[in-house]
Subunit: 283 residues, 2 copies
C-alpha cells in the first residue's frame, strides 16, 4: 500500500495503471475510518483492479462554526485498520497541496437550485459547494473508473450524481448501504464525540426511521402524519434537538406531498453538541 | 475526418486513441472558422497525434441581449475549410445533447473574484461562468492532453488557465497568437456582421493598440496617460462606442497602476451594432 501526499505523484500513479488497462476504483474519505468506510473499500476491491482511497478533511465544506478543527484525524490508526484490505494507494494531501492559494480567487463547482439548498444544504450553507469542488478536484487527480460513496450521506450521493451527469464526468458512481452498529446507530466518525449517555440515546434515530418505514408499509401515504409521529418520538429525548426531518424525492431531495414510488426519509439532529444525520431509502 | 454529434461517441473515439497511447490535441470553437481557428488546428497537429475540434455555439455564455441566435453557423462551410488539415474528428453536439435539462437545476463551474468580473466579465454578466462550465464539460468528454486557445480572447485564456490549475485538470493549455487581417483587424467570426463602412473603420483598434505599445517602448509608465491617448484616438470615429480600454496584469486581469513587467492592453468597442474585442500582450 503506497502512501501518496503530492498531487503529481497521485496523478502519475493512477496514469500508469490506466495505461496498463487496469480498472481503478476510488473511495474518497475524510479518514478516521469505521466499518462504513471499510465496506466501500471492500466493494471497490470486488469490482476494480486497483483501489485508491483518499483521506482529506476538506476545509471548504465545513462552515465557520463547524468542527473542521476538531474533526478526528489519525493517519496511523487508519492505515493500520486497512492494512489487510489490499488497498493499493492512500492519497493524503495537505490542505495547502489541495488549496495552494485559499485566499485568492478560486474556481468552484456548484449546483444551482434546491438540490444543494435543502436539508444539509440549508443547515450547512456552502457545504455542498465545498463537496462538489473537492470531489471534482479529487476526480481529476485520481481519474478513477468508479467511485464509491455511502448511502448515509444520501443528499451528498444525489449531489455527486448530479454533478457527474451535468459535467459529463466519465466516472461510475456507486452508492453502498449505510453500515450500522448492532443497536442501529449509523456508523460515523462523529460518533466518537458522543458521551456514554448520548451514545445510549443515539439509536432512537434509526428506530424512528424504522417506525416511519413501518407506517408506510401499513399504508400511510401522508408525509405530514409520518413526520409528526417521528418528531413526537424523537422529542421525548431532551438531549436531542431536531434540525430537520424530511421525506423527499431521493434524486431531487425535494419534499414529497404523498408517499408513492421511491422516497428518502432523512433527518439531522443535535445530540448534545454532536450533529448526527441518518436516513432510509424506501422503494 | 469523423463528424461526431453524440457525447458517448466522442468519449469512445477519444478513449480508444488514449488507450493506444496517442497524444490528443483539442481545439474548442464556436465554428464559422477563420484563419485564427485554422492556426490553432495547425499548431495542434504539429504537437499531437490526434486533433479533435469541437464546434458548439454555447447558449449559456451568451447574455439575454447578445447574439446567440444570430451568431454565424455553417457546418458544411466549416468542414470544407478544414478538409485538408488532417483534423481527426469534429465534435458538433446539439444544444440539447450538451444541456439535456437546461430548465432544471444545473452544475456550474465558476471562478470567484475579479478575474471573471472585470472587462468582458463586467460587460457580459455570467459570460465566463458559461465559458468555464462548457469548457469543463468538453474537457471531460474529449479528455485531451493539450487544448488550444487564441490570444484574442486574452481574458478567456487567463480564466481557462485558472480553472485548470484550481480544479487539477490534467490538460496543458496552449495559447496561440492572434491572427489578423492584412490591415491589422483581429480575425473574428463576428467581423462578418460589419458593413463595408464599419469594416473600413475597424483597423483603428489594432492601430490604437500599436500606438499604446509604441508609447510604452518610448518609456511611458503611466497607464492613465496611455489610456487617455487611446480613447482620444478611437473617439475620433463616431461609428465606435467604447465599452472598455484597460491595461491589466495578464494573469489576474487586474488594472495596473504602473507599466512594469508583463501587461495586457485590452479593449472592447461597439462598431455599429457589432461588439469587437482586441488586445496586445506586452513583455
Amino acid at each position: 500500500m503506497k502512501i501518496i501526499h503530492k498531487i503529481k505523484d497521485m496523478v502519475e500513479f493512477s496514469e500508469n495503471f490506466r495505461k496498463d488497462g487496469k480498472i481503478i476504483g476510488f473511495v474518497p474519505t475524510m479518514g478516521y475510518f469505521h466499518e462504513g468506510h471499510i465496506s466501500l473499500m471492500r466493494e471497490a476491491k470486488k469490482t476494480c483492479d486497483i483501489v485508491i482511497v483518499s483521506i482529506f478533511v476538506n476545509p471548504i465544506h465545513f462552515g465557520k462554526n463547524e468542527d473542521f478543527n476538531t474533526y478526528p484525524r489519525d493517519l496511523s490508526r487508519d492505515l493500520k485498520m486497512i492494512e489487510n484490505l489490499s488497498v493499493d494507494a492512500v492519497f493524503n494531501p495537505e490542505v495547502k497541496e489541495m488549496y495552494p492559494d485559499p485566499e485568492g480567487l478560486f474556481t468552484f463547482v456548484d449546483i444551482e437550485g434546491s438540490l444543494t439548498k435543502t436539508l444539509e444544504g440549508k443547515s450547512r450553507t456552502g457545504h455542498f459547494k465545498g463537496v462538489t469542488t473537492v470531489v471534482a478536484k479529487l476526480f481529476n487527480i485520481v481519474v478513477p473508473h468508479k467511485a464509491y460513496f455511502g448511502q448515509k450521506d444520501a443528499q451528498q450521493c444525489a449531489v455527486i450524481k448530479k454533478m457527474v451527469k451535468d459535467l459529463n464526468i466519465n466516472i461510475e458512481i456507486i452508492i453502498c448501504p449505510t453500515i450500522r452498529e448492532s443497536d442501529g446507530l449509523a456508523m460515523s466518525s462523529r460518533n466518537t464525540y458522543l458521551s456514554a449517555k448520548e451514545r445510549k440515546t443515539a439509536p432512537v434515530l434509526f428506530k424512528t426511521l424504522q417506525m416511519a418505514h413501518h407506517m408506510i408499509e401499513l399504508g400511510e401515504k401522508d408525509p405530514k402524519v409520518i413526520l409528526n409521529e417521528m418528531k413526537k418520538r424523537i422529542s421525548k429525548h431532551h438531549l436531542i434537538s431536531i434540525d430537520y426531518i424530511s421525506i423527499v424525492n431521493p434524486e431531487t431531495i425535494e419534499p414529497v406531498n404523498e408517499i408513492s414510488g421511491k422516497v428518502l426519509i432523512a433527518l439531522a439532529i443535535k445530540l448534545g453538541k454532536t450533529r448526527l444525520i441518518d436516513n432510509i431509502a424506501i422503494q
